[in-house]
Assembly symmetry: C2
Homo-oligomer: 447 residues x 2
C-alpha cells in the first residue's frame, strides 16, 4: 500500500475519481486503514466522498479510534450517517462506547429505523459481556419451513452480513431451537423440513456471560460462531470468533502488564514519558513503601550486622533467590487461574505442591550459597546458617507466591495484580526475618 501512496495522493489532487476507486479496489480495507495516517485531513475527506459507502464503511471499521472520531467530526452529516448505517452493528457499538453520550444521542435518531433499534439494544449491554461482544447481523428462520425457502431467505439477506456460518432456527417467540451450518444447506434436499436438518444440541451462552468465559467456550468447542440467548432462550445475537481473538489478546495483555506491575499502555512509542510514568509510578510508590518494612527489619537486627559483617554479603542473594522463587510460583498460578486449570478450591493443593517444590529448590539453592560461604569466607557455621535460611526462605516464598494470587481472586481482585515485583517485595521481609532468626539460633550464640 505504502509504495503507491504518492500516486494516490496525486490522483486525489487531480480528482480522478474513477481511477482512485479502481486502484483502491486492489487493496484490502485493513491495508488502506493501516496507511491512513499518511493522508492529511483533506485527502481523508476526499477519499471518503469518492469511495462508495460499503467500501468506505469497510475501511472505517479498521481505523483506530482517534481516526474514526476525526472523520466523524469532519464528514458532512449525510455521509457520516450513511457510513454508520452500513457498519456492522457490533463495531458501531464499540465506536459509540467511546463517543460522548450526547453525541451518540444525536447520531442514533439519524440512523435507519432498523439500525436505530439495533444500536439501542446493543448499547444496553456491558462491553465486556457476551451482549457487548455480539452482533445482531445473523439470519433466523422458522422451524416449519423447508430448505428451499431458507435458501430463498438467504439470497436476500446474505449480502449485508460479513460472516455467515450458521442459520439459526427459531420458534414463534424467537426461542432458538437449532442451528444449521451453511454447508449443510448445500448438501441437503430442498424439500426437507428445517427441523429435520438442524442440529438440536449446540454450544450457546447467556447475555451476561463475561467475555473471558465466552472466549473459553470458543476455545473448548473449536467453533467459528456462538449464539447468545436471553434468560428465556430467545436468540439475541451472535458472537464470531474474530471478536474473540481481540478478547484473548486484551485479557492476556492485561495480565502481563499487571504482572509486570504496570498499567496497560496501548501506544508506547507515541506516548509521552510523563504519561507512561503516571501509569507506573503508583505501583512504584506502593513497592517503595512496602520496601520500608524490610528496611525496618534490617534496622531492628542491625546489632547482628555490626558484629558479623559477613552476614550482609548474603542478603542480596537470599532476597533475590527467594523473590524469584516466589515470582515463579505466582506466575504459574496466575496463569492457571486465567486458563481455568486452577480453581479457588485448589488453594491447599497448590500450597502443598509449592511447599514440596520449595524444599527441592531450596536444598539446591542452599547448597550453592553454603559453598560460597565455605570457599570465599572459609566459614562453615556461616555456610550452614545461610543454607538453612535459604531453604526455609524458598519454601515460604513458593508457598506464599502460589497462595497470594488465589487469595486475591477469592477477594474479587485481579490475581495478576499480585505482580512479580510485589511478591518479591513482600518476600524480602520474610526472608530477612528468617535469616536473622536463624543467625540468632545458630551462628550468633557461638560467636
Amino acid at each position: 500500500m505504502r509504495v503507491i501512496l504518492p500516486e494516490i495522493k496525486e490522483l486525489l489532487s487531480s480528482k480522478q475519481r474513477r481511477t482512485i476507486r479502481k486502484v483502491l479496489s486492489y487493496f484490502e480495507p485493513a491495508d488502506i486503514a493501516e496507511a491512513w495516517s499518511e493522508f492529511n485531513i483533506d485527502e481523508k475527506l476526499k477519499l471518503f466522498t469518492i469511495l462508495n459507502t460499503k467500501v468506505a464503511a469497510d475501511i472505517f471499521e479498521f481505523l483506530q479510534e482517534d481516526q474514526m472520531v476525526e472523520l466523524l467530526d469532519n464528514l458532512p452529516t449525510k455521509r457520516k450517517v450513511a457510513i454508520l448505517n452500513e457498519m456492522s452493528p457490533d463495531d458501531r457499538t464499540d465506536l459509540f462506547a467511546i463517543l460522548p453520550t450526547e453525541e451518540v444521542e444525536k447520531l442514533i435518531p439519524l440512523l435507519e429505523p432498523d439500525e436505530q433499534k439495533r444500536a439501542r439494544e446493543l448499547l444496553a449491554y456491558k462491553g465486556n459481556t457476551a451482549g457487548g461482544l455480539m452482533t445482531t447481523d445473523y439470519i433466523t428462520v422458522s422451524e416449519n419451513v423447508n430448505v428451499a425457502s431458507v435458501m430463498k431467505e438467504l439470497r436476500v439477506k446474505a449480502k449485508d452480513i460479513d460472516f455467515i456460518q450458521n442459520i439459526y432456527v427459531v420458534d414463534k417467540v424467537n426461542r432458538l431451537q437449532g442451528i444449521i451450518p451453511l454447508k449443510d444447506l448445500l448438501t441437503t434436499s430442498p424439500q426437507r423440513k428445517v427441523e429435520k436438518v438442524m442440529e438440536n444440541y449446540f454450544p450457546n451462552v447467556g447475555l451476561d456471560m463475561d467475555q473471558e468465559d465466552v472466549a473459553r467456550v470458543f476455545e473448548k468447542y473449536d467453533i467459528p460462531s456462538l449464539p447468545v440467548l436471553d434468560k428465556l432462550g430467545r436468540i439475541k445475537g451472535v458472537i464470531t470468533v474474530d471478536d474473540v481473538i481481540d478478547v484473548i489478546k486484551e485479557e492476556t495483555s492485561e495480565d502481563i502488564y499487571h504482572f509486570g506491575a504496570t498499567e496497560v499502555t496501548d501506544q508506547y512509542l507515541s506516548a509521552s514519558p510523563l504519561n507512561i510514568a503516571q501509569k507506573r509510578v503508583i505501583w512504584l510508590i506502593i513497592l517503595a513503601l512496602a520496601g520500608f518494612i524490610s528496611g525496618s527489619v534490617l534496622e531492628h537486627y542491625s546489632y547482628l550486622l555490626s558484629s558479623i559483617v559477613t552476614l550482609s554479603f548474603f542478603i542480596p542473594i537470599l532476597m533475590n533467590t527467594s523473590g524469584s522463587a516466589g515470582t515463579q510460583a505466582a506466575t504459574v498460578v496466575v496463569r492457571g487461574l486465567a486458563t481455568g486449570e486452577i480453581r479457588l478450591r485448589d488453594i491447599w493443593r497448590v500450597v502443598r505442591k509449592e511447599f514440596f517444590i520449595g524444599i527441592l529448590m531450596g536444598i539446591i539453592a542452599g547448597a550453592i550459597t553454603a559453598l560460597r560461604a565455605l570457599v570465599l569466607q572459609s566459614d562453615a557455621a556461616l555456610g550452614l546458617t545461610v543454607a538453612i535460611a535459604m531453604i526455609i526462605a524458598i519454601v515460604i516464598a513458593t508457598s506464599i507466591g502460589g497462595m497470594l494470587p488465589i487469595i486475591f481472586k477469592k477477594l474479587g481482585v485481579d490475581p495478576a495484580l499480585m505482580s512479580g515485583p510485589l511478591i518479591a517485595t513482600i518476600l524480602d521481609t520474610t526472608t530477612l526475618l528468617i535469616y536473622f532468626n536463624i543467625t540468632i539460633l545458630l551462628l550468633y550464640r557461638f560467636r
Copy 2:
C-alpha cells in the same frame, strides 16, 4: 456431562449400544472429551467400539495427547486406522508429531492412499510455520466453470470438511487465482462464470511463514480463514481461525512463563513437585549465581557498612524499587516486541523514553526514601545520598530494562527470557555500585 456419567457407565456394562449412541448424541464431542478421564480403559475401548467412526474421531480430536496415545496403544488396528482416516489432516499431523517416528512410519501405510499422501505432505512442514498449521481439507474449482458446477462439486465434498468459508479458484497448475466466499455462491446466478464472481485480491501467506506472523495476518484482516501458497503461488492448504487462537494462547503463555523465569508447565495440578521444580530450578540457579556478584559488591564496600550502619537499612528499598522499575520497563518492551509495535531499530527511542521516565519516577521514589532517612534517622546527609542514589539507580534501571529485551531479540534470543527476576538480579549489582559510590562521594567524606 458429568451428572449422567454413572448412567453411561451402567449402560456400558450392560452393553446397551443403541441407548449409548443415543445418549451421547446429546453432547458435544468436546464435553465428552472433557470427561474422558472419568472412564477406565475398558470403558474407553468399549465406547470407541460402539460409537460410529465419525463421532469417535470427533471426540478423539478433543482428547489430550496422553489420552490419544493411550487409545492408539490399545485399540484394534482396524478401528485405529478408521479413526485416523476420519480425523482432520491438521489434527492428525499434530498427533503424529508427538508419536515416535517408527510408529508413524507403521501407521501411515495403513491409511487410505489419499490420506497417506496428505499425511506425508503435512508432516514435511515445521510445526510452528504456516505449513504446519494448515489443513488440506479445502475445496478448489477451476476458473472457467460456472457457479452451478461449483455447487455440484460442493455437494459432493462438503460433508467431509468441518469448516468451509471460501471456495478457492485455481488455474490449470493449481495456482490460486481468486476466492469465493460461500455466501456469495448462494446469492449469485448459477450461470455466471466463476472468474466473474471471485474476489481477485485477498490476504494469503507463504508455507514458511512463522505461526506468530500468521496470527498477526488473521488479526489484521479479521478473516475466518487464510490460504497458504508455495513459492510458485500454488495453493497448498488453508489455515482456519480456530487454530490461530491456539497459537496466540501458546505464544502469549510462553512469554508470560518466561517472563516469570520459568518454563511452560502445561499441567500444573497433575504434575509432580519434582517435575515442576526441574522446570524452575535452572533459572533459580542462574539467578543465584548472578546474585553472587551483588554479594561481592557488598563485600568490597563492607568497610562503608561497618562505619555507617544506617546505610544498610536502605539497601532493600533501593534494590527493590530499581528492580521493579526495570521490570516495568522490560514488561512493556517485551509486550511491544511481541505485538510488533516496537521494532529492533526503535532501541534508541525506547532508551531515550525510558531515561526520561526514569528521571520522573526516580525523583518521586527518591523523595519518599529521603523522607524516611529524615524522619526515622534524622540524618539529612544520608537522606540526600539515598535520594540521589535512588534517582540514578532508577534511571539506569528503566533504561537497561527497556534496552535488554531488544538486545536479546537482536541476538535472536526470545526477549521474554529477559525475565523480571533476571532484570532485578542484574540491577541489584548496578544499584549497589551506585549507592556505595554516591556514599563515598557525598556522605563518607563528611563522617
